[in-house]
């Protein structure tokens, strides 16, 4: 797995944009550190924000598989996010209308992922044969169908009131009481209760692990023959077909893979936020993720990282603006305005994104020969 080497390049090897981004990231981290030390931001809240950014990053990496690798315009991100979140929430929450007993969240994750894979195939069968712009409209429509189902099938999903009392991901670990089936040697694991900061830290740790795992898998896949076929489909589908590739099957694989990553993000969100409602499946979430991907650079995983953080900066940062300055209107339209402006500006001035894929598409060994000369 030599493709996994997360080597840090020297400043001199970066191009101008990369230097600017790196500088901005360092400056922003310093700013956050100062804010925490000065007591402006609670460490618990900072960890929550970072976990949320990690969640958007997972969603962006999922969409990057669809749009960045294969060129599928999928506008149903919110639906797969919701399937992951509802999949785990319905099984694990004590407030769930479906399950009377709380199953451990790890099982909920599994069900969310299975559900997303299943729905991805069901949505993919009719839509993946469609032209690019038709796929966009059809997937948005089907995502709305899923949202309407969750909103209206109250006896299954609790409808608009949403599902509350979702346990933390670590349940029943650290829950304060040891279950009967656990050997008594493990009691301390169960009976220890965590304070808010510890919980926030564990959540953050979880999302970091998820991100590293997904990133590693995607990086490996993207550089594999499978990834090369996906890139060929993206740039010229006819060419891929002429080369004898079953483009429909490759698109379906990409669609399922990306959707599963989105469901993982949704399941993580359910256990981070501890509450999920149909409003979380609004199309706006899909477009947040789209902004993250096109801002970072379509097809670029590190771009998705940057985009995910910028989106959380806008969504959560606008809350601060509201707290600090007395602006004469609600924050919701300001957020919408910034997102809209960002989309237009990116598409107008830098449609390839801030960090478009460059070297990350190429095996290091492929260029090594030239460097040796």
């Amino acid at each position: 797995m030599s493709g996994l080497s997360l080597s840090v390049p020297l400043v001199g090897e970066l191009n101008r944009e990369e230097q600017l981004v790196a500088g901005g990231v360092v400056g922003f981290v310093a700013l956050l550190a100062v804010a925490v030390v000065a007591g402006i931001i609670e460490p618990t809240y900072l960890l929550f924000l970072l976990s949320l950014a990690g969640m958007y990053l997972l969603l962006s990496m999922g969409l990057n598989v669809h749009w960045g690798y294969t060129g599928l315009i999928n506008f149903s991100v919110a639906a797969f996010f919701g399937i992951g979140a509802y999949g785990t929430a319905l099984l694990t929450a004590s407030g769930s209308p479906l399950a009377s007993s709380m199953y451990p969240p790890i099982l909920g994750f599994g069900i969310g992922i299975l559900g997303a894979a299943l729905v991805a195939v069901l949505i993919g069968i009719p839509t993946l044969r469609l032209r690019a712009d038709y796929l966009a409209i059809a997937s948005l429509g089907l995502a709305e169908v899923i949202r309407l189902l969750i909103l209206n099938e109250r006896e299954w999903t609790a409808g608009s009131q949403g599902i509350s009392a979702i346990p933390r991901f670590w349940y029943p670990l650290f829950s304060g009481s040891s279950p009967d089936w656990a050997p008594s040697a493990l009691d301390p694991l169960f009976t220890t209760s965590l304070n808010a900061l510890q919980t926030a830290f564990l959540n953050f740790l979880l999302v970091v692990v998820l991100i590293i795992a997904v990133y590693a898998i995607l990086k490996r896949l993207h550089r594999s023959p499978w990834g090369r076929v996906q890139r060929t489909i993206r740039s010229d589908q006819d060419l891929a077909e002429a080369l004898g590739k079953d483009t429909y099957s490759f698109k379906m694989q990409s669609f399922v893979l990306g959707s599963v990553i989105m469901a993982i993000a949704g399941a993580f969100y359910a256990h981070l936020n501890l509450f999920i409602a149909p409003g979380d499946l609004n199309p706006i979430r899909t477009f947040y993720v789209w902004v993250a991907v096109i801002l970072g650079g379509s097809g670029s995983n590190r771009g998705a990282v940057l985009g995910g953080f910028v989106i959380v900066l806008i969504i959560e940062g606008t809350r601060f603006i509201n707290g600090i300055a007395a602006i004469p209107f609600d924050i919701a339209p300001l957020r919408l305005f910034l997102i809209g402006l960002l989309i237009v500006l990116i598409m107008k001035f830098r449609p390839q994104g801030i960090l478009p894929p460059q070297a990350e598409l190429i095996w290091p060994s492929a260029t090594r020969g030239e460097d040796d000369e």
Partner: protein, 309 residues
């Protein structure tokens, strides 16, 4: 029987609104060549333009009425159409025209434009539901006696104005020089250009017509129920369904598609009463979306197909 008649009457009214929106979306699709996700929010721009105008005119003391409707409402309808047209042309000139990103890039850009429209509306008017404050009359007694259905003056007005606008567009497209140029441009932009048609001007007229019709649709949504910033986006997918159903790029297809989608949307209760399938009206949009996907699979070029504008 009267339930069926009633639902058909409702369907005709709702169709009027969808048709107005569909025609504009179809025009943009065929001439500017991208799926304009800002079209729904253009409807909202028109509706709020009219809303502001009614407020101003009423405060100026314009209280005269025509057939029970305030004159201010009709003026506001025209102003709303004009506002939406100006906003659309400005957007075209400032954003779309100088761009060179292909139809998918344009589609994504239009999402950004949609958010900009909606956020500005929300900043100015708030997120709450509002109404035009036009006096409500009950069902027209003669129609209720004759057919047993409740049809209000608002319903008749919406249908009459929608019909007028659609027939007007038909005459424009078929019998005027501008219409001929528009059809030529939609059919083949490069060929139209080398034939000496100033396609830039055609594009501007297209935005004016499309946005004005969308605005009328938006105003009628407001007249029928309420206005709120997300109103246009909430109806956008139905409009896309109508346009796809009729065949993207075909204006007459869009009219037909709009009629069908509007009808299906309002006839949803029949699933329950006639077929015994327990699907409530809350699934009316879902049924339209599923129909759209079905049409895309069965006949991607739509019912009327091609760009025979």
């Amino acid at each position: 029987m009267s339930l069926l008649l009633q639902l058909i009457a409702n369907g005709i009214v709702y169709s009027g609104i969808i048709v107005l929106a569909s025609v504009g979306l179809s025009l943009v699709y065929s001439i500017a060549d991208f799926a304009n996700f800002a079209h729904g929010d253009t409807m909202a721009v028109g509706a709020y333009g009219a809303f502001a105008t009614i407020g101003v005119l009423t405060s100026m003391g314009l209280t005269a009425t025509i057939w029970g409707f305030p004159v201010a409402f009709f003026v506001a309808l025209l102003v709303g159409m004009a506002v939406a047209a100006v906003v659309a042309v400005l957007t075209h000139k400032i954003v779309y025209e100088p761009m060179d990103v292909g139809s998918i890039g344009m589609l994504i850009t239009s999402i950004g434009i949609a958010f900009l429209y909606r956020s500005v509306i929300q900043m100015r008017f708030g997120a709450i539901m509002q109404s035009f404050g036009v006096q409500r009359f009950g069902p027209i007694p003669e129609l209720q006696a004759a057919l047993g259905i409740a049809v209000t003056r608002r319903d008749l007005l919406i249908v009459a104005v929608s019909l007028t606008l659609v027939v007007g567009l038909h005459l424009l497209l078929q019998y005027t020089t501008l219409g001929r140029k528009m059809r030529a441009t939609a059919d083949n932009r490069s060929l139209a250009k080398v034939s000496g048609i100033r396609t830039g001007r055609v594009l501007v007229s297209m935005w004016v017509i499309g946005a004005a019709l969308a605005a009328a649709g938006g105003v009628f949504i407001g007249l029928n129920a309420n206005i709120y910033p997300r109103m246009g986006f909430d109806i956008l997918l139905l409009v896309f369904a109508a346009v796809i159903l009729g065949g993207i790029g075909s204006v007459y297809g869009a009219m037909l598609g709009g009629f069908v989608i509007g009808m299906i949307h309002e006839l949803t209760p029949l699933f329950q009463t006639r077929l015994g399938i327990p699907i409530g009206t809350e699934y009316a949009p879902a049924i339209a979306f599923l129909l759209m996907v079905g049409i895309l699979l069965w006949r991607p070029q739509g019912i009327l197909g091609g760009s025979n504008t």
